[in-house]
Amino acid sequence: MEQESEKYKKVLEILRNSQPVLDSTDDIENEVIKRISKINEPRPNLLNLIDFLFGWVYIGWVRNGLITASVILVMFFIWQQSIILKRIDLLSRQAIIENVETISNPASEVERGIMMYKLSGRRLPSRNLTISEKQMNQLLDSVNELQTKYKDLIKLIEDDPELKSSIEKKLKEHNQKKTKI
């Protein structure tokens, strides 16, 4: 047993004396510096982001598959969101006009506005109606102006009996022509 231990010690001593020699320190240095320089090179942000998100996947094809799937999902999400935003925008424009209808203010101007809206609504399908608030106000102003002028005209006709009788005569003739046709 002692002899065996002696042999072991001798072998061990030889191995301890035989320090492994690294003959190519320069090669290792150069290679290490080269690789570190590569690591230190600025990488595109996209690559950094991909590494951050998918760095935990070591199998190449799984990583590529995940990247592709996520890109498709993100694109689908953006497309869906753009459609939803368009619909919301359209609905909000319609809501401006509908709100006018629900205003409880009994002012005659508002009521007239609603009437005009309804008239135009009959002509245009509601989904295609894209009247802005400004346009609506312009419309109401012109209706008011028209109504004032109409009142003035009626007053003028009633004040002048000759003009009144002349107009009545003209209207009768006009109605007769219509009946013939």
Binding site: E4, K7, Y8, V11, E13, N17, Q19, P20, L22
Partner: protein
């Protein structure tokens, strides 16, 4: 001897000083890697990888005093990975030439030394039947002459674990020496 100031400068990102650090650190890293892996080229690769890891994580170590232990820990972990990759030998193959080489060197006396290739063969032959843990503990304790505390810090093993692994490693190697030498 590695200068603490040099490590501090490298921690600040001094690229030129890191070349010096590589020059000083590579031989000790190579010694352990070579003795554990018994493969010169693979050991050089491990040294390169270790140096790159050092550059990347040098700022993270709490104090420069633990630098030496920290390097050995990186090397040992990388060697473990390499050993795990290797297929285990199904049967132990005795190499007569290696045993005669050991016999010759033992007869030459304690001053005998081995070249890298010879050391590779001798350690490989002696530790062929050891597990990666047993081999690592044997190399660190009996060849690199580290204390159990240091080995515990490097490998993360408990002291009792180190003792038992070392016991089995020594027993196994002694039996082989007795049988073949």
């Amino acid at each position: 001897m590695i200068d603490i100031e040099l490590i501090e400068e490298c921690r600040d990102g001094n690229f030129n000083n890191f070349r010096k650090l590589v020059e000083l650190t590579s031989p000790m890293a190579f010694s352990v890697a070579f003795r554990i892996l018994c493969d010169e080229d693979l050991a050089k690769d491990v040294v390169q990888e270790t140096m790159i890891t050092i550059w990347q994580k040098l700022k993270k170590i709490k104090s420069v005093e633990v630098y030496r232990t920290w390097i050995y820990r990186i090397v040992v972990n990388k060697c473990y990975d390499e050993l795990r990759k290797r297929k285990r030998h199904p049967e132990f193959v005795t190499d007569e030439q290696t045993w005669s080489l050991i016999s010759n060197r033992v007869s030459e006396g304690p001053s005998a030394e081995l070249e890298n290739k010879e050391t590779e063969k001798v350690i490989s032959q002696l530790t062929n039947r050891l597990t990666p843990k047993q081999k690592t503990v044997f190399v660190l304790s009996d060849l690199e002459q580290m204390t159990n505390d240091e080995i515990s810090e490097i490998t993360g093993m408990s002291k009792s674990g180190i003792k038992s692994n070392l016991h089995y490693a020594r027993k196994n190697i002694s039996e082989m020496i007795e049988k073949y030498l």
